[in-house]
């Protein structure tokens, strides 16, 4: 839920990266963190296990610049993708303004993608959100791997709504900023409508 401060002239929005375990959510944030100017970003906070799996969330605050005299800030979060961390995922979705669904393109992760996608819808619905109405984009990650499924097939199950979609290789940054810009745009456009 965005926070508009007329006094300090700031607007803060929350974007959540969702998707199955190991699909590359944390890698997206790490790439963004490494490639942005120090003055536009805060610390990247990762609450993770010894083996670098997200335990609770990753958090990265970014400033995008000003719109009509208001500083726009985006708070990027990732959820833990492992199935048994569902309680944590629900908490992180609270107050979300935009969602990036990161899919793992590998054929053996198709079921995990679908399960996570359903889980996203369920958890949003529990809080009274409808995925169809929340600004969202889909990222098909791990396009570099030989066992990647054709995009048409991924789209057929994960993007029947036809939201903006991007192919990505998160460790090298392919598609990472395109994805972020697209969701940020949708969120701002929604604010414009909602105002």
């Amino acid at each position: 839920m965005s926070f508009i401060n007329y006094s300090s002239r700031e607007i803060n929005c929350k974007i959540v990266y969702y998707g199955p375990g190991l699909c590359g959510k944390t890698t997206n944030l790490q790439y963004i963190y490494n490639k942005t100017n120090p003055e536009t970003k805060g610390k990247l906070i990762s609450l993770s296990t010894e083996t670098d799996r997200t335990l609770f969330f990753d958090f990265l605050p970014l400033s995008l610049g000003e719109i009509r005299g208001f500083k726009t800030r985006f708070h990027l979060y990732t959820v833990p993708g492992q199935v048994f961390y569902d309680a944590s995922r629900k908490l992180i979705l609270k107050g979300v303004d935009g969602v990036v669904f990161v899919a793992d393109s590998q054929v053996e992760r198709m079921e995990a993608n679908m399960e996570s996608y359903e889980n996203l819808k369920t958890n949003l619905a529990e809080q009274g959100y409808d995925l169809a109405k929340v600004p969202s984009v889909v990222q098909y990650n791990k396009r570099d791997l030989p066992n990647a499924v054709a995009v048409e097939e991924l789209r057929g199950v994960l993007n029947t709504r036809g939201v903006p979609e991007y192919q990505a290789v998160a460790p090298t940054g392919v598609g990472v900023f395109d994805t972020l810009k697209a969701v940020a745009k949708l969120v701002l456009t929604e604010l414009k409508k909602g105002g």
Binding site: I4, Y6, I45, S88, K181, L188, G194
Partner: protein, 160 residues
């Protein structure tokens, strides 16, 4: 999607005044106010060496996790939390269900004093936030500055 948090000059000044006063009265090092979604609302005291954005997000994560635990055991939430460190301690209290008041103080400061002052401040803050919510929900509320933005404005943000 619930009501968006909106802040205006009048309430913002009142909130900052309450936090400033609490910092002095409770002999605190820092006082800050965070919304439950992790956005920083106000910070008073010696904030120079503190990463307030990270602090806000972790506070919200902590309160969310404790709230989840509370529900598991049949409580609605744990309204107050105290974390005692060797040198610094941290007291968190939930204000009117939407915001969290956090006080950081030296462990030598009396916890009783902190509790007492926090209680008073949080009652005042709860009233201010109630008024704020009413204002936001009233149809004559201030128009969003975003109602007039153009697609170009949005594109320009991403132009580098």
């Amino acid at each position: 999607m619930g009501t968006q948090l909106v802040m205006y000059d009048e309430e913002y000044n009142r909130i900052n005044a309450v936090c400033d006063r609490l910092t002095k009265d409770a002999n605190a090092k820092v006082v800050f106010l965070v919304d439950k979604n992790g956005q920083l609302i106000s910070a008073s005291g010696q904030t120079q060496n503190i990463d307030t954005t990270s602090l806000a997000s972790l506070t919200a994560g902590n309160v969310a996790a404790m709230g989840g635990l509370a529900k598991l055991i049949g409580e609605n939430e744990f309204p107050n939390q105290i974390h005692e460190g060797a040198r610094e301690s941290l007291y968190m209290t939930i204000v009117g269900s939407r915001v969290v008041l956090v006080v950081i103080f030296e462990s030598s400061t009396s916890l009783g004093l902190v509790r007492l002052r926090v209680k008073k401040a949080s009652d005042e803050l709860a009233k201010i936030f109630e008024a704020l919510l009413k204002k936001t929900e009233s149809p004559g509320g201030m128009a969003s500055p975003f109602a007039e933005i153009s697609d170009d404005d949005i594109d320009n943000l991403f132009s580098e």
